[in-house]
Amino acid sequence: MTKCTVLLFARYAELAGAPSLEVEVPEGATLGDLWDRVRKMVPALRDETRPLLACDRAYARPDTAIPVGGGEIAAFPPVSGG
Protein backbone atom coordinates (compact mmCIF):
# COMPACT_ATOMS: atom_id res chain seq x y z
CA MET A 1 0.00 0.00 0.00
CA THR A 2 1.07 3.59 -0.70
CA LYS A 3 0.26 6.32 1.77
CA CYS A 4 -0.82 9.53 0.00
CA THR A 5 -1.66 13.00 1.19
CA VAL A 6 -4.46 14.57 -0.84
CA LEU A 7 -4.67 18.36 -0.68
CA LEU A 8 -8.17 19.81 -0.84
CA PHE A 9 -9.16 23.39 -1.66
CA ALA A 10 -12.08 25.78 -1.48
CA ARG A 11 -15.44 24.01 -1.26
CA TYR A 12 -13.83 20.56 -1.07
CA ALA A 13 -11.79 21.57 1.96
CA GLU A 14 -14.90 22.97 3.60
CA LEU A 15 -16.89 19.82 2.87
CA ALA A 16 -14.14 17.61 4.26
CA GLY A 17 -13.53 19.94 7.21
CA ALA A 18 -9.80 19.70 6.54
CA PRO A 19 -7.27 21.04 4.00
CA SER A 20 -5.82 17.57 3.41
CA LEU A 21 -6.51 13.88 3.92
CA GLU A 22 -4.25 10.87 4.38
CA VAL A 23 -5.29 7.95 2.19
CA GLU A 24 -3.79 4.52 1.58
CA VAL A 25 -4.08 2.99 -1.88
CA PRO A 26 -2.67 -0.18 -3.44
CA GLU A 27 0.51 -0.06 -5.52
CA GLY A 28 -0.33 0.88 -9.10
CA ALA A 29 -3.46 2.81 -8.15
CA THR A 30 -4.48 5.82 -10.23
CA LEU A 31 -5.58 9.29 -9.16
CA GLY A 32 -9.13 8.22 -9.97
CA ASP A 33 -8.81 5.22 -7.63
CA LEU A 34 -7.50 7.52 -4.93
CA TRP A 35 -10.41 9.91 -5.34
CA ASP A 36 -12.93 7.04 -5.18
CA ARG A 37 -11.34 6.12 -1.87
CA VAL A 38 -11.63 9.72 -0.62
CA ARG A 39 -15.34 9.79 -1.57
CA LYS A 40 -15.93 6.64 0.49
CA MET A 41 -14.02 8.07 3.46
CA VAL A 42 -15.75 11.47 3.40
CA PRO A 43 -19.51 11.26 2.85
CA ALA A 44 -19.75 15.01 2.18
CA LEU A 45 -17.59 14.52 -0.93
CA ARG A 46 -19.53 11.51 -2.21
CA ASP A 47 -21.29 13.42 -4.98
CA GLU A 48 -18.10 15.03 -6.29
CA THR A 49 -17.54 12.61 -9.11
CA ARG A 50 -15.53 14.88 -11.43
CA PRO A 51 -12.93 16.81 -9.45
CA LEU A 52 -9.99 18.55 -11.01
CA LEU A 53 -6.90 16.55 -10.10
CA ALA A 54 -3.27 17.57 -9.89
CA CYS A 55 -0.15 15.51 -9.37
CA ASP A 56 3.06 17.26 -8.37
CA ARG A 57 1.51 20.67 -9.09
CA ALA A 58 0.38 19.88 -12.63
CA TYR A 59 -3.08 18.97 -13.84
CA ALA A 60 -3.47 15.23 -14.33
CA ARG A 61 -6.20 12.95 -15.63
CA PRO A 62 -7.90 10.36 -13.44
CA ASP A 63 -6.10 7.51 -15.22
CA THR A 64 -2.68 8.91 -14.20
CA ALA A 65 -0.75 6.50 -11.99
CA ILE A 66 0.16 7.74 -8.53
CA PRO A 67 3.94 8.30 -8.43
CA VAL A 68 6.10 5.95 -6.40
CA GLY A 69 6.29 7.47 -2.92
CA GLY A 70 2.93 9.17 -3.31
CA GLY A 71 3.86 12.53 -4.83
CA GLU A 72 1.87 15.68 -4.11
CA ILE A 73 -1.75 15.00 -5.01
CA ALA A 74 -4.50 17.63 -5.01
CA ALA A 75 -8.22 17.60 -5.79
CA PHE A 76 -10.41 20.65 -6.19
CA PRO A 77 -13.53 22.09 -7.82
CA PRO A 78 -13.49 24.16 -11.04
CA VAL A 79 -11.28 27.21 -10.59
CA SER A 80 -12.61 30.77 -10.31
CA GLY A 81 -9.64 33.10 -9.94
CA GLY A 82 -9.36 36.48 -11.59
Partner: protein, 145 residues
Protein backbone atom coordinates in the same frame (compact mmCIF):
# COMPACT_ATOMS: atom_id res chain seq x y z
CA UNK B 1 13.88 35.38 -17.25
CA UNK B 2 12.25 38.78 -16.73
CA UNK B 3 8.74 38.79 -15.37
CA UNK B 4 6.96 39.14 -12.06
CA UNK B 5 4.62 36.39 -10.85
CA UNK B 6 3.08 36.41 -7.40
CA UNK B 7 0.14 34.91 -5.54
CA UNK B 8 -0.30 36.20 -2.02
CA UNK B 9 -1.89 38.41 0.58
CA UNK B 10 -1.62 42.18 0.54
CA UNK B 11 -2.97 44.93 -1.69
CA UNK B 12 -1.86 44.88 -5.31
CA UNK B 13 0.06 47.81 -6.76
CA UNK B 14 -0.45 48.63 -10.44
CA UNK B 15 2.63 50.84 -10.48
CA UNK B 16 4.78 47.91 -9.32
CA UNK B 17 3.46 45.75 -12.17
CA UNK B 18 4.09 48.49 -14.74
CA UNK B 19 7.61 49.13 -13.43
CA UNK B 20 8.34 45.42 -13.68
CA UNK B 21 7.56 45.31 -17.40
CA UNK B 22 8.54 48.78 -18.68
CA UNK B 23 11.76 49.51 -20.54
CA UNK B 24 13.16 51.83 -23.19
CA UNK B 25 12.71 49.38 -26.07
CA UNK B 26 8.98 48.86 -25.38
CA UNK B 27 6.47 51.19 -27.00
CA UNK B 28 3.33 49.68 -25.48
CA UNK B 29 2.11 48.46 -22.10
CA UNK B 30 -1.28 46.84 -21.68
CA UNK B 31 -2.66 46.21 -18.22
CA UNK B 32 -5.72 44.51 -16.80
CA UNK B 33 -7.15 44.90 -13.31
CA UNK B 34 -9.78 42.55 -11.95
CA UNK B 35 -11.72 44.49 -9.32
CA UNK B 36 -13.98 43.24 -6.54
CA UNK B 37 -17.47 44.23 -7.68
CA UNK B 38 -20.40 45.04 -5.41
CA UNK B 39 -22.90 42.80 -7.16
CA UNK B 40 -23.14 39.45 -8.92
CA UNK B 41 -26.17 37.84 -10.51
CA UNK B 42 -28.44 40.44 -8.94
CA UNK B 43 -27.08 39.92 -5.45
CA UNK B 44 -25.23 42.50 -3.36
CA UNK B 45 -21.67 41.41 -2.61
CA UNK B 46 -19.97 42.88 0.47
CA UNK B 47 -16.50 41.42 0.02
CA UNK B 48 -14.58 38.73 -1.82
CA UNK B 49 -12.18 36.16 -0.50
CA UNK B 50 -9.65 34.21 -2.53
CA UNK B 51 -7.92 30.93 -1.81
CA UNK B 52 -5.24 29.27 -3.92
CA UNK B 53 -3.21 26.11 -4.20
CA UNK B 54 -0.38 28.52 -3.91
CA UNK B 55 2.72 26.73 -5.30
CA UNK B 56 0.75 25.33 -8.23
CA UNK B 57 -0.92 28.70 -8.83
CA UNK B 58 2.44 30.46 -8.99
CA UNK B 59 3.79 27.77 -11.30
CA UNK B 60 0.69 28.20 -13.45
CA UNK B 61 1.22 31.96 -13.73
CA UNK B 62 4.81 31.32 -14.87
CA UNK B 63 3.53 28.81 -17.40
CA UNK B 64 1.08 31.41 -18.72
CA UNK B 65 4.00 33.84 -18.97
CA UNK B 66 5.97 31.32 -21.01
CA UNK B 67 2.97 30.81 -23.29
CA UNK B 68 2.72 34.57 -23.82
CA UNK B 69 6.42 34.81 -24.63
CA UNK B 70 6.10 32.02 -27.17
CA UNK B 71 2.93 33.38 -28.79
CA UNK B 72 3.55 37.11 -28.65
CA UNK B 73 7.33 37.32 -28.50
CA UNK B 74 7.69 39.37 -25.34
CA UNK B 75 9.00 38.23 -21.94
CA UNK B 76 7.96 41.44 -20.18
CA UNK B 77 5.03 40.18 -18.14
CA UNK B 78 3.68 40.71 -14.63
CA UNK B 79 0.83 38.64 -13.18
CA UNK B 80 -0.15 39.28 -9.57
CA UNK B 81 -3.09 37.64 -7.80
CA UNK B 82 -4.24 38.60 -4.35
CA UNK B 83 -5.40 36.06 -1.73
CA UNK B 84 -7.53 36.43 1.38
CA UNK B 85 -10.17 39.11 1.81
CA UNK B 86 -10.48 41.67 -1.02
CA UNK B 87 -12.69 44.67 -0.27
CA UNK B 88 -15.15 46.00 -2.84
CA UNK B 89 -13.34 48.31 -5.28
CA UNK B 90 -9.96 46.71 -4.63
CA UNK B 91 -7.99 44.73 -7.19
CA UNK B 92 -7.93 40.93 -6.98
CA UNK B 93 -5.67 40.50 -10.00
CA UNK B 94 -3.31 42.77 -11.91
CA UNK B 95 -1.65 41.90 -15.21
CA UNK B 96 0.79 44.00 -17.23
CA UNK B 97 2.41 43.09 -20.54
CA UNK B 98 4.90 45.31 -22.35
CA UNK B 99 6.12 44.88 -25.92
CA UNK B 100 7.72 46.86 -28.71
CA UNK B 101 4.34 47.23 -30.41
CA UNK B 102 0.80 47.49 -29.14
CA UNK B 103 -0.66 44.39 -30.74
CA UNK B 104 1.60 42.04 -28.79
CA UNK B 105 1.08 43.91 -25.52
CA UNK B 106 -2.71 44.06 -25.83
CA UNK B 107 -3.22 40.51 -27.03
CA UNK B 108 -0.69 39.13 -24.56
CA UNK B 109 -2.49 40.83 -21.68
CA UNK B 110 -5.86 39.55 -22.78
CA UNK B 111 -4.48 36.04 -23.22
CA UNK B 112 -3.10 36.20 -19.68
CA UNK B 113 -6.42 36.99 -17.98
CA UNK B 114 -8.34 34.41 -20.05
CA UNK B 115 -5.78 31.71 -19.28
CA UNK B 116 -5.56 32.65 -15.62
CA UNK B 117 -9.31 32.34 -15.24
CA UNK B 118 -9.29 29.01 -17.06
CA UNK B 119 -6.38 27.20 -15.42
CA UNK B 120 -4.94 28.90 -12.31
CA UNK B 121 -5.91 26.90 -9.20
CA UNK B 122 -7.47 29.85 -7.39
CA UNK B 123 -11.01 30.12 -6.01
CA UNK B 124 -13.25 33.06 -5.22
CA UNK B 125 -15.75 33.16 -2.39
CA UNK B 126 -18.45 35.82 -2.50
CA UNK B 127 -19.68 37.14 0.81
CA UNK B 128 -23.20 38.57 1.03
CA UNK B 129 -24.95 40.25 3.91
CA UNK B 130 -26.25 36.82 4.81
CA UNK B 131 -24.01 33.95 3.90
CA UNK B 132 -21.33 33.29 1.33
CA UNK B 133 -20.73 31.01 -1.61
CA UNK B 134 -17.75 29.54 -3.43
CA UNK B 135 -17.82 30.52 -7.08
CA UNK B 136 -16.85 27.68 -9.40
CA UNK B 137 -15.86 28.20 -13.00
CA UNK B 138 -17.14 26.37 -16.03
CA UNK B 139 -13.76 24.89 -16.98
CA UNK B 140 -14.34 21.17 -17.20
CA UNK B 141 -10.83 20.35 -18.32
CA UNK B 142 -7.95 22.77 -17.76
CA UNK B 143 -5.58 20.22 -19.31
CA UNK B 144 -7.27 20.43 -22.71
CA UNK B 145 -5.14 23.17 -24.24
Amino acid sequence: MPGLYRVGEGKLDLAEAVRAVAGPDRGAISTFLGMARDHHAGRRVIRLEYEAYRPMAEATLRTIGAEIEQRFGTPHIAILHRLGVVGIGEASVIIAVAAAHRREAIEGCRFAIERLKAIAPIWKKEHYEHGSIWIEGASPDPTAT
